[in-house]
């Protein structure tokens, strides 16, 4: 029985994230010089990034637990109690690690995400969308088989199916609809509907997906979120240099629209799906740092649409930060604030380019 300390989480997360960053940065430069800045670079870098991420996160796992069953203990209320001598014992939740087969399947899922995103962002977009629909339909079958002994792993795998749903919800809208300001809110509302319907059917409580006030004071969570968001948004601007989100509108309109769309629709929905449902479920099937790593990898890969390998890496890093905040605070308040405010900062800087 192992009691996971906060310092272990920080140490493992730092090592794994740095390993992925350094390895990718080392590979990226020769890739760029040999392939040039084209779609080929995009494809190869995505595959390299995913391989490195899986290797670091799940590869280290095999060395540590070897696919066998270990027991992980964390603060919760399931009836097992631990505590140092002289202290009041605290309730803990006993969690069984998954088997090697589960980790292998997670690696396959990451590969499918890479394939789907690369196809979707090419002239073969039709295959990408069809693959997303197939993923949405078939992943629950695999989840059922592989999640027999670990219901939370099943939930996590089904959450990946919902990640594919974020692409499938694009299907109903004709291209002309893209010009409407209602487009993004519609898409994100549909994603949220999908997640909420799933949670309702599966009987997963809002508390289990971190819809709560968390362990720390609200002001502290908001403050940390705003600070991290400001930093990440500024860095992202230098990576992406995006156009303003709207053109030919007043500053007030721009601000209102950006804040509503980025803080609420983008921030809440993406954090709810990734850090809330996917990561929180994975954390009950594997150590927290690996759950954060896998979730961040998928989150990063979903940014392939930017056609910028550095953005994928940045999104992975941001995902690790958001994941850490969610894990430590046991709430989505800080990650939602950081994510949403980061995007607001990104597009506010775009208004006044440096």
């Amino acid at each position: 029985m192992t009691i996971v300390q906060l310092s272990d989480l920080v140490k493992n997360l730092t090592y794994s994230t740095l390993a992925v960053f350094l390895a990718f940065a080392t590979v990226y430069v020769p890739l760029l010089s040999s392939l040039g800045y084209g779609y080929e670079l995009h494809v190869v870098s995505a595959v390299v990034f995913a391989s490195l991420g899986v290797g670091v996160t799940l590869g280290l796992l095999r060395r540590r637990v070897g696919g066998s069953r270990h027991v992980y203990v964390s603060a919760s209320s399931q009836g097992v109690y631990v505590g140092k001598s002289g202290e009041k014992a605290r309730p803990v939740e006993v969690i069984e690690y998954g088997t090697g087969r589960m980790y292998a399947f997670l690696a396959v899922l990451v590969a499918v995400v890479v394939a789907e995103e690369l196809l979707l962002n090419s002239v073969y977009a039709v295959y990408g969308l069809v693959l997303a629909i197939l993923g949405l339909l078939t992943i629950p079958i695999f989840a059922l088989v592989l999640g027999k002994r670990n219901d939370w792993f099943r939930t996590a795998v089904e959450a990946v199916a919902l990640v594919f749903a974020t692409r499938v919800v694009l299907s109903p809208f004709p291209s002309g609809f893209l010009s409407l300001s209602l487009f993004l809110p519609s898409i994100y509302t549909l994603i949220l509907v999908g997640v909420v319907v799933y949670l309702a059917y599966r009987g997963v409580s809002a508390r289990n997906v971190r819809i709560s006030l968390g362990r720390y004071p609200l002001r502290l969570q908001l403050g940390v979120g705003l600070g991290i968001g400001a930093v990440l948004g500024s860095i992202e601007y230098f990576v992406l240099r995006p156009q303003p989100i709207l053109q030919d509108v007043s500053l007030l309109q721009m601000l209102a629209y950006t804040v509503i769309v980025m803080m609420v629709f983008v921030g809440v929905t993406e954090e709810f799906l990734f850090r809330g449902l996917l990561q929180a479920s994975l954390e009950r099937a594997m150590p927290a740092w690996q759950a954060i790593g896998v979730t961040s990898m998928i989150f990063g890969l979903m940014h392939i649409g930017w056609f910028n390998p550095l953005e994928v890496l940045l999104a992975y890093g941001a995902g690790v930060v958001f994941g850490y905040l969610a894990s430590v605070t046991d709430s989505l308040i800080a990650p939602i604030t950081a994510h949403g405010f980061g995007n607001v900062v990104l597009y506010l800087i775009a208004l006044y380019p440096l």
Binding site: Y37, V168, P172, S175, L178, D248, F307
Partner: protein
């Protein structure tokens, strides 16, 4: 369904309406985790499509917009077939018709939320088709 989730959904619907009133100009250059969705004629980020990425790539052989238009049309067909197929499966696997293998029953429960989402999307497809016909 939990009250918190219902409140969240209600907030989204309300803010979706508010955001549609906030601006009427087309979106431009926005890309988030749904980056692919904004590669369209009116929401085309010039910083994305104007880069050398597309100029020197497989994408240069055709326009991405054409590719997406075709992809959306094909995926609408797939999505509709999948929704209908799932509904048929849900009906046939109803325990009221008699005993069934436990795996098929579990699968039925697993596919229920997926079916609900696909049916919603199917109705949106139909509604937008009807709307586009009426609007000419």
């Amino acid at each position: 369904m939990e009250r918190k989730l219902l409140i969240l959904l209600a907030l989204f619907v309300f803010l979706a309406a508010v955001s549609s009133l906030t601006v009427v100009a087309p979106l431009f250059g926005l890309s988030t985790v749904l980056g692919v969705s904004v590669l369209g004629s009116s929401v085309l980020g010039s910083s994305v499509l104007g880069s050398s990425v597309l100029g020197s790539s497989v994408l240069a052989s055709t326009t991405i917009i054409e590719a997406y238009a075709g992809a959306i049309a094909a995926s609408q067909l797939c999505l509709s077939l999948a929704a209908i197929g799932l509904l048929v499966y849900l009906e046939l696997s109803d325990p009221a018709y008699g005993s069934l293998r436990s795996f098929l029953l579990k699968l039925r429960r697993s596919w229920l939320p997926v079916s609900a989402l696909l049916v919603i999307l199917f109705f949106i497809i139909v509604a937008l088709k009807v709307w586009s016909i009426i609007a000419g």
